[in-house]
Structures are given as structure tokens and as C-alpha cells.
């Protein structure tokens, strides 16, 4: 098999109505966002309140999946870079990833430090953050 089916497990709530409203990255100084997990998955949240930081995986459903290269804002001379060398939403599998601070848990709703996506963005997964680079001494 060379493909898989991903199912949406919730939605991310932000004040951003369009992609042009979105900041380039999740930034705590932009306030908070809400993650609404589908109630079906409530048992899968058990124990999450003891985590300080989470990695959120979500889906950039408006992304161009055929893009191979892009010109990032910081590019000199308009040089293109490969999408695997960029965090652009445009990529073959547009899975977005942000590390956020977990601020509150109320039932199936998590309040986290501000994310970078439009309101209603589909949620794919939530993982407790493991500081691998801290462990490896970076």
C-alpha cells in the first residue's frame, strides 16, 4: 500500500479567518487558541492535563500538494528552496506541526498558546512534547 486515510479528530479555533490573517508560525505572544477534540475521543485525553507542552498535528487543507519548491520571504535573489527545507504549508502531505503550551483542559476542549492556522483547521493528532534536543545536549 502506498497511501493511507487520515481522519479528522477535531478542529482548531483561532481568530484567523483567512490564510493571509495567519502569522507565519505559532507564537505564544499572539495569545491563545482552542483545540476542540471530537467528543468520541474524550477517553484519549485522559492524563493530558499534566503535560506542560504539546505537539499538535493538523492539516493545511488549502495547501498546494504539488508544489516542490517555493521562494521563502527571507530568500536572497528570489532563490527557490525545496519544500522539505521549508515549513511552508505547500508540500506533498500538508501536515502542519506546532509545539504549544497547554494552558487549560475542560472536557474535550484544550486552551493552548496561539497557533498559526485559520479557524476551523482540521486536527489530526496531539502528542506530549518530548524535548529530544535538550536530552541530546543541543
Amino acid at each position: 500500500m502506498n497511501s493511507e486515510t487520515l481522519n479528522y479528530i477535531g478542529r482548531i479555533r483561532t481568530p484567523n479567518k483567512t490564510t493571509s490573517d495567519c502569522p507565519g508560525q505559532a507564537r505564544p505572544e499572539n495569545g491563545t487558541s482552542r483545540i476542540e477534540v471530537d467528543e468520541t475521543f474524550l477517553p484519549a485525553l485522559k492524563g493530558i492535563e499534566s503535560e506542560s507542552h504539546l505537539q499538535i498535528l493538523y492539516w493545511f487543507d488549502k495547501a498546494d500538494r504539488d508544489a516542490m519548491q517555493r521562494v521563502p520571504k527571507w530568500s536572497k535573489n528570489g532563490e527557490e528552496y525545496g519544500v522539505f527545507a521549508l515549513r511552508s504549508p505547500m508540500r506533498p502531505n500538508p501536515i502542519a506541526l506546532s509545539t504549544v503550551e497547554l494552558m487549560n483542559v475542560e472536557g474535550n476542549v484544550l486552551t493552548v498558546s496561539a497557533m498559526d492556522c485559520i479557524d476551523g483547521t482540521p486536527l489530526l493528532d496531539i502528542k506530549p512534547f518530548l524535548n529530544q534536543l535538550e536530552r541530546s545536549g543541543k
Copy 2:
């Protein structure tokens, strides 16, 4: 739409033949792994050699996607935790995530610090690592 199709974009090469051979997490002290990106995506790697660390997204194709809770090894009294509070491969969308050091790039093959999956695990995405927590002062 409530689901999406993910396409494999390559394979991860490790010495681990079965899931019981796999360490619990990607750990640099376990040596190196190879990431073989499908040649179709060679243009998408342009510029990646200047990154020191990458976030690799891959697919745990042997995972139980119906699991909601698991008993982690460190659990006291056999208490169960929700899969979103664990990094267990068992989860609704079994997307695996490791942060690794990039050691070499040769065409479509990346050599990185050791990953935690079996040989041949499907690759989904590669992103340059952005140390958000360092920026936010954690």
C-alpha cells in the same frame, strides 16, 4: 470532507526488523538511520543540507488505530492513560514524529541520527526544525 489521503514519499532504513527491536524513541546514541526519499521528490530537498536538525513525520503502519487508552511502561498501578497523553504508536492517526540531527545528504538519501522505527517504515514529510520552545524561553 472529514478525511484525507496521505501518500508515502519514501522509506526509512533502520536495522530494526520487528517492532520489538525498536527503541522507545529516536536517540542519537543509537547510531544513524537512512531516509530514502522517492526520486520524484528530489527537487523538494533543495537547500536541506544547510539544516542541522529535522523533524521527520512517518507512518506507524502496524498501529492499532482504534486504541483510546494504553498502559505506559512507567504507569503506577497499571493505570491507563489516553493516547493523546502518550507517544505510543497506537492512536487514531498513527503519524510518528521524531526530531533528528541531519548528518549527510547524498542525492535523495539523508543520513540522520538514529530513528525508532522498523526498516522500511513509510515516510510522510520532512521539515526543518524550529526551536519554538527555545524562542519562547522554556
